[in-house]
Symmetry: C2
Subunit: 272 residues, 2 copies
Amino acid sequence: MSQGEELGAVVEFKAVRFTDAGAREETVHVPSEVPLTVEANGVEVATLLCTPTEIPSLVLGFLFSAGVVRGPEELREWSVDPTRWKVECTVARTPDVELLGKRVYTSGCGKGVMFATVAELAGRRPLDSPLRVPAARIDDLARALQGASPHYRRTRGIHTGAVSLEGELPERWFDDVGRHNAVDKAIGDALFRGVDLSRCLLLSSGRTSSEVLHKARRAGIPVVLSRSVPTHQSVLRARDMGITLLGRAKGAGFLAYAHPERIVPNGAPAGR
Amino acid sequence: MSQGEELGAVVEFKAVRFTDAGAREETVHVPSEVPLTVEANGVEVATLLCTPTEIPSLVLGFLFSAGVVRGPEELREWSVDPTRWKVECTVARTPDVELLGKRVYTSGCGKGVMFATVAELAGRRPLDSPLRVPAARIDDLARALQGASPHYRRTRGIHTGAVSLEGELPERWFDDVGRHNAVDKAIGDALFRGVDLSRCLLLSSGRTSSEVLHKARRAGIPVVLSRSVPTHQSVLRARDMGITLLGRAKGAGFLAYAHPERIVPNGAPAGR
């Protein structure tokens, strides 16, 4: 995001669509996502990963929900710095740093806890993995992901995560109300079993936001596959990190938003 | 959750289904959600709102993703207390409390920041609102919610939130990659405009987890309406809080998981 440029709710990217017929480039739209740091009376309250529209309403709604202000009259001034994605505001009562520590990681996110240093360290060197997976295998994995959870069929409200070794069907699938928790369960289980994650794909029913991508990068997993879409931030980061980012995978084709070279198109010559 | 009872991935509830033909009770399943506090070497690392299955894998995957451990060998012991939903574990290096403060609220969650005291205070007295809404109106709102976002149609990956005064179609809809952010934007905007939230419904495209419910309770909003499902925790809390909790609302009927008495069934005598 260059200085002064307006980032809307949606960002356009070039992606590669893999189908039965092969692979071709197309233009797609993904939701935008930025880390917005909110500072109230000089106290850092939170960094929200959000779509940077309606920022004053977001800040008021957030500070109200969090108990920092009791109404609009207690939010007195604010300024948004769109180059650093920082909101500085003045509120009636300075937030209690002790209370601010009592944050709860929510099920929507699980808890995309990322220590800045870890995330930076992990991202410094792009992943370099020789893993190659045929497009038809991705379709198989996507179909398996769809049918994997009996809990999903009963509730329509649970996420599934899994780890696939070199495109093989996973033996174990992990459900959670939080899509990040489902991913953490799959990675944790693979760690317990001593699986070589550099030869694995990470499968998730949920959207790939930047922190799912960070989890993959930290685990050294070179391919992330989702039934849903990525955010614009995860497209940008996946391109930097050397991660193959696949989305909209439901068993009949899919999109590659970053590093499509690890996917062997249908009909491609063998031995690629 | 009573002591010693095993909570699985899914919980069964009685709910009321509203259709063209009226209202009838049925049994439904919703995903379970508990607040799991993780303590490593006596340091509280996070409270995860999660489905309490595969807890060791979740804890290892989470601690690994968060940079607290570098592998399974650094997670040495753990014990789970299922009555307090607390995991105590021993890790190779004690987590740095300073670094732990650098949490980023993720887009999946927005940031369900809830200060314990606020949540408790808000929940102490059940909401008592005379608001009544006809079931046909709920269907109209659900259809409007579905068609409200041009960004959703382009991306298939963005959430929408809005506030409806007494069942009227909202004038403004709010999009965000985070479902909680979309809700915060809608509440923040209503606060700016001085809308009487005690006469409002909160509309959301995303699941109703416990913290979306807390946002509604804090704002004094008596009806929460989602296209998706609630978690079991939000069903329990909505019943306590006096909030009417509606889910699976897509324009042709819906389910009421808590306090159905605010919904006037189709075909009910007028003047109820």
